[in-house]
Symmetry: C2
């Protein structure tokens, strides 16, 4: 695809826009393997920044990283009845290895509960071994029918936390704390607001007691499930014999939680902030935060502007920023601007001969606006600009979400909304799966979550959207990725 070719506008075809941004900003590429993508350096660098931030948060809350085998005996999956039903249809299976047919086929992990709890059974003997708080960064394989770069791929990267606790209360606290940690990460780092809450039975993780989720609203007004956290109860503990001696000397099964976010978050980032010029990155997750573009015509000018550009780069780097100088010959400044805007760099500094003479640079924000900056204030000014950009991206995303959320919907409104502009629809729910299904059939919208108190309407709806009977709770509907 040529760089000169205009990017499809979001309003014309959001899905085409998304694919073009991913490919032209060189974040990922299609591979020769069905449904598997290649994460290119510019995309992987974003994932690495996400990993670092999330890993620090998980370690700060007492979680330790470990690594478990990717290959899982097929029989392990079958030990938890709901789990195998949920995952078996999606598995990829190794049947041959070292030139021979295997006696027992090995499944590529679609998630690691089974292999991890088999090990927990070995490690946990006593209440003194609890809680056990483990996290793993790993690749996962799920045989998906329809795939989309970053959003749904046969192989993807993720972190999966797995913990064991002495009782239900502790497990529940862990599952909810992680949900809050995810929300904090998504807001503070991704500048992406989310609604958090409980999933209904139909959307629950296969084998869990309760599933919680983070839901973000993309610019096409479809919801994206950005992360989930499960209270697994004692289901896996019983299936894998993870028992321990209590302080009172009796035997009991542990309570488990598991939770994860994946490279899908890169897709979420693109669809939350991108614009018709391409990618827009929040500064904290931008691999390059500042791109300096020197501008020259004569050789004498070239020497001067390059010298100043590299000095500014040094100064900014010393202040802790990720900075590059685009000193490529034979490419016009305008073409460089276009390229770095497409790739989402938050701040551009233009430095030409006149700027050198006047002791300034021109700062252009990715989200619009140019201002001259005095050289002796540049470090402070650029740092403040980046902080401001980080905040304003979150603010914009929040107000977009608020504008596209409707409270206390009726069935007619829900049908109309989901046939039209979409968004989050809050309404009453009687708790009956039949009502949930009916709404899904008529609107293609699903209950994304029963929202946490923080995200509930001030006055809870009284009636179920579908049946009109008394509502037991409020629910949030949306069409979803």
């Amino acid at each position: 695809m040529s760089e000169d070719q205009r990017l499809t506008k979001r309003s014309e075809d959001f899905s085409a826009w998304y694919n073009e941004v991913v490919l032209r900003a060189e974040l990922a590429d299609y591979s020769p393997v069905r449904g598997c993508m290649v994460i290119r350096p510019r995309g992987y660098a974003i994932w690495e920044l996400m990993q670092r931030a999330l890993d620090d948060m998980l370690k700060a809350t007492g979680h330790q990283n470990a690594y478990f085998p990717m290959l899982i005996p097929e029989s392990f999956l079958a030990r938890e009845a709901e789990h195998v039903e949920g995952f078996a249809p999606q598995t990829a299976v190794v049947t041959r290895a070292g030139g021979k047919e295997l006696e027992e086929p090995l499944v590529l992990r679609p998630t690691s509960e089974t292999i991890i709890y088999a090990m927990f059974a070995k490690w946990i003997q006593s209440y003194r071994d609890l809680p056990l708080l483990i996290n793993q960064w790993a690749n996962i394989v799920r045989w998906e029918k329809r795939t989309r770069l970053f959003l749904r791929t046969t192989e993807f990267l993720w972190q999966e936390g797995h913990t064991a606790h002495i009782n239900e209360e502790e497990a529940e606290t862990e599952a909810r704390s992680i949900l809050a940690l995810y929300r904090r990460f998504m807001e503070e780092w991704m500048a992406m607001p989310v609604i958090t809450g409980l999933k209904t039975e139909s959307e629950r993780f296969a084998g869990a007691l309760r599933t919680y989720g983070c839901e973000a609203l993309m610019q096409d007004n479809k919801a994206l499930q950005a992360g989930t956290s499960h209270n697994l109860g004692q289901n896996f503990a019983k299936a894998f014999d993870v028992d321990y001696q209590t302080a009172a000397g009796q035997m009991d099964y542990v309570w488990n939680t598991s939770w994860g976010v994946s490279t899908r978050l890169v897709g979420a980032l693109i669809m939350t902030h991108g614009d018709d010029k391409g990618l827009v990155l929040p500064p904290r997750l931008a691999p390059v935060q500042v791109m300096i573009v020197p501008i020259w015509k004569t050789d004498a000018d070239r020497v001067a502007v390059l010298q100043v550009s590299h000095r500014v780069s040094e100064v900014l780097r010393e202040s802790g920023l990720r900075v590059e100088v685009d000193d490529r010959d034979g490419m016009k400044p305008g073409a460089k601007y276009y390229q770095w805007e497409l790739r989402g760099v938050p701040v551009r500094l233009e430095i030409g001969p006149r700027d050198v003479a006047e002791g300034q640079a021109i700062l252009a924000r990715r989200t619009g606006g140019k201002v001259p900056v005095k050289m002796d204030e540049i470090s402070e000014f650029v740092n403040e600009t980046l902080e401001m950009l980080q905040r304003s991206l979150l603010d914009s995303a929040k107000s977009r979400q608020a504008q596209n959320s409707v409270r206390d919907v009726t069935m007619d409104q829900l049908v109309e909304l989901m046939a039209g502009k979409g968004g989050f629809a809050y309404g009453g729910f009687c708790g009956n799966a039949a009502c949930e299904q009916r709404i899904k059939d008529e609107t293609k919208a699903t209950i994304r979550v029963i929202p946490d108190p923080d995200f509930q309407s001030e006055r809870k709806p009284r009636k179920c959207v579908a049946c009109g009977e008394a509502a037991t709770t409020e629910a949030v509907w949306a069409k979803a990725y």
Copy 2:
């Protein structure tokens, strides 16, 4: 295995000692999946420190991380004749996925040349796209007959670099620069000296023009291949059509290199520095560098020593160290010392009531020796001690290697040496594969490398160890893992 049970001595059974250290220091565990290990948090934390250090070094030399699919079409392997011959017997193959038989089976990557160069063919059009310097952190599967924790496992973790260059000279420079970078990492971080050099044809990577390697001598006097770097020539470029337009406007194939180190390095670290008390970690790769053990009998003492211990911990942490306080109740100090020695913590600080009164702590080095340290000098003293320990571990390993290296061996000496104490044997080599094979048959030793000039004997041997004809080079023999 009980903690009270005595560790097997290295001199009694090095192999049993190694397994016991890995298991009892909780670095790794056997899994229910044949040949696959679980890397436990204490082992994974060492790997994470290695990753961080090496990743920084690779990025500082212009390499970028990316991620490629783990599943490779079986036909890709076959495109490079030597490559498929080398790796096909070791592959694990997915034949079934999503409930159906696959039309083309997919191999779990035994290494990623084929899938990566298939993508390079898409990305590289012009000399302006070169060099392309990519690195990937990934899991690898090779169906090994005999496995050992960390040293040889069916699945392992590694980094694999893959680069493309305009000519042989640049590719050769890259392959050698990486070898030097690996050596620097192994010496400066792992405190592990290595001999670097060229591999003979029989030990060359399947599909490479030339393979270089880093060889370290373990305490049982067997060599461990710690890392390899390959100049792949144009072999893969031709197999995968990775061609480009030169500056002169003609089409040419790129020159590739690939190189990697794996979780095997954790095994190398254990076997280089461990002693009869267990693991010994070089401070730069120790997840916990300082363990503070408070000592008390009365409740009043407990309050005082814990307060001081946590204050010291804060001070040391602020100076950039990784510190923990072992404040467990109901465990005697001696039992704690034993445990942290087994786990290789470089420095222990003991703080009892008398130490609190005298404003000091007792510093115990993992490698022996105790000294009192005044509280107001503690940060400086501990930091200096750790630097000194890092240096002295390298010095000890270097002198052990020197003591176990023999120069200018004859065939008789080589036979005797390899039947006895082992080690590195330097001797003349005529370059003939038949001589190499004969020595292997008679001594079980292989040529580890044709050493780089830096590691060669001052006076090169004149005759081939095996045939007595004129030597074309010096070679280093050893029995190897």
